[in-house]
Symmetry: C2
Subunit: 292 residues, 2 copies
């Protein structure tokens, strides 16, 4: 066991609060490979089923902050990671326990604003209660998008220009705490993500093509994903997975560019194969110069 | 007849190239009230049926630029106005006549970029052929959004803040030639318009609420429409009509803010009544200070 993982295991097991998708298990596996104990806290209604034998797990309802604190302390957890897709909850979906009720005024203020504002509020509540909130990339750096292409398809010069435009646009809107993704094709911005999320935005592009609202261009456009400048990098990093590639293909796009070192890529080997199969490129790019 | 309208009628009749909706007739009527002769050129597939008796009219196919030039000159038209909704055409929907074919390389370049880029290209082609392209607001200033509220509902302070945020965001993305509308609610940007258009964006907000992705906030949000900074103000000004109000109501929003003096409002009296009926506000606001 390395000195580093020794130190980390002294901190007790890592509490992984799990949203949907395959990322939570990928992060848990990576942390465990690094010699860290892991306890999962899947959230009812969001997390996918998790093989029971693999990790200790305590299913939680959204809003049971008091019981999370109790159980996590009993497990000896100090470090917390949030990971996985999490549909932004409505304040009415909250089933607060006593502890959460006490925090309600603070929580209500958090709901006034963008996702990043909300997530930073959530993180601060955990930290006020003695937990340390880590980014998934801190416990599992191997899930970060590398720089350069994955798979064998490459963007051409028109697509490179679209990538640049998309990155510049995302950088520009960054202070507004809006979306993390745009679609650009032949210099034209086809779609911008806000509350709907990336998948819904891509589905819209597919539909706009089907009803003739957007014609297929000579050069297929690009999905650009970038981390927000002000984004609390510990939480909600933009992520792409094999499903993103299929959705991009169906939307008639030529590829995906995501910021290297900040976007999360689930299962890069499978991504490369999926990209080649769909004949789209996937590339890790540097964020717009103004960013970070 | 005033001296001004005398001068205008000396310029020959106004050619109104008609897209869909009721705006083309509103503009034609306003021009005629100002003493100007009017000839309509409705575009097949876009323009709504127009009562035959009211104006001389020549239906055109998209791409018949040569026949437009012949007929418009025969009618003595020098001034041209584009007005009405026009789904962005695909280059493949173009049925070019000989004249248009000659312009094809220029047209192909126009299609690489945003709507404003395309529209300015179209205007320059008309001007290269001796026509003068006017904005609908120049021949019918009464269709421009006035400053202040229409109808009796007023935005509250939370909605005022959302309007400011929306205007600032639209101003920021203006150089990217993207959309002219955003939806903001309690400080959160719910949707940004790109290729889909305002109605589709509002429908998306309605659906996101229905599937629980966006919860109804304590204060209902705002649709903000603003003219693009670089926008060729003669063409494609953002417009709102009674239908926009219904769509805004269905999307669970509290009202509409549009830039005074640049957004087009069809039938303001009907708008005021529709706004009161739906209990939403409609307000003409000054564009973000950085704009213009």
């Amino acid at each position: 066991m390395s000195k580093d993982s020794q130190r980390r295991s002294d901190d007790g097991p890592l509490a992984v609060i799990c949203g949907g998708g395959s990322l939570p298990l990928a992060v848990a596996d990576a942390a465990q490979r690094g010699g860290r104990g892991v306890v999962l806290f899947p959230i009812r209604g969001w997390a996918d089923p998790i093989p029971l034998a693999r990790y200790r797990q305590h299913w939680m309802s959204f809003g049971n902050f008091g019981s999370f604190c109790r159980v996590a302390r009993a497990e000896g957890c100090r470090d917390v990671v949030f990971i996985g897709s999490l549909k932004r909850p409505g304040i009415l979906q909250l089933w607060p326990d006593l502890q959460t009720l006490r925090l309600l005024p603070k929580i209500l203020r958090m709901f006034r604003g963008g996702d990043d504002h909300l997530l930073r509020g959530v993180a601060s509540i955990f930290e006020d209660h003695g937990f340390r909130v880590l980014g998934a990339h801190e416990v599992a750096p191997e899930i970060l998008m590398p720089e350069g292409p994955i798979g064998s398809v490459r963007p051409n010069s028109s697509q490179q220009a679209d990538i640049e435009k998309g990155l510049a646009l995302l950088d520009t809107i960054s202070p507004f705490d809006v979306g993390q993704a745009v679609v650009v094709e032949s210099g034209r911005v086809l779609a911008m993500e806000a509350a709907e999320g990336t998948d819904a935005m891509l589905l819209r592009v597919e539909q706009l093509r089907r009803n003739g609202h957007i014609e297929h261009a000579a050069v297929r456009g690009v999905l650009v994903k970038a981390v927000k400048r002000a984004q609390s990098r510990r939480l909600d990093l933009p992520s792409i997975g094999p499903q993103t590639i299929e959705t991009v293909g169906r939307a008639g796009l030529g590829g995906i560019a995501a910021t290297a070192g900040s976007a999360i890529i689930a299962q890069p080997e499978r991504m490369g194969m999926a990209a080649d199969r769909e004949k789209v490129f996937v590339i890790g790019v540097r964020a717009s110069s103004a960013e970070q």
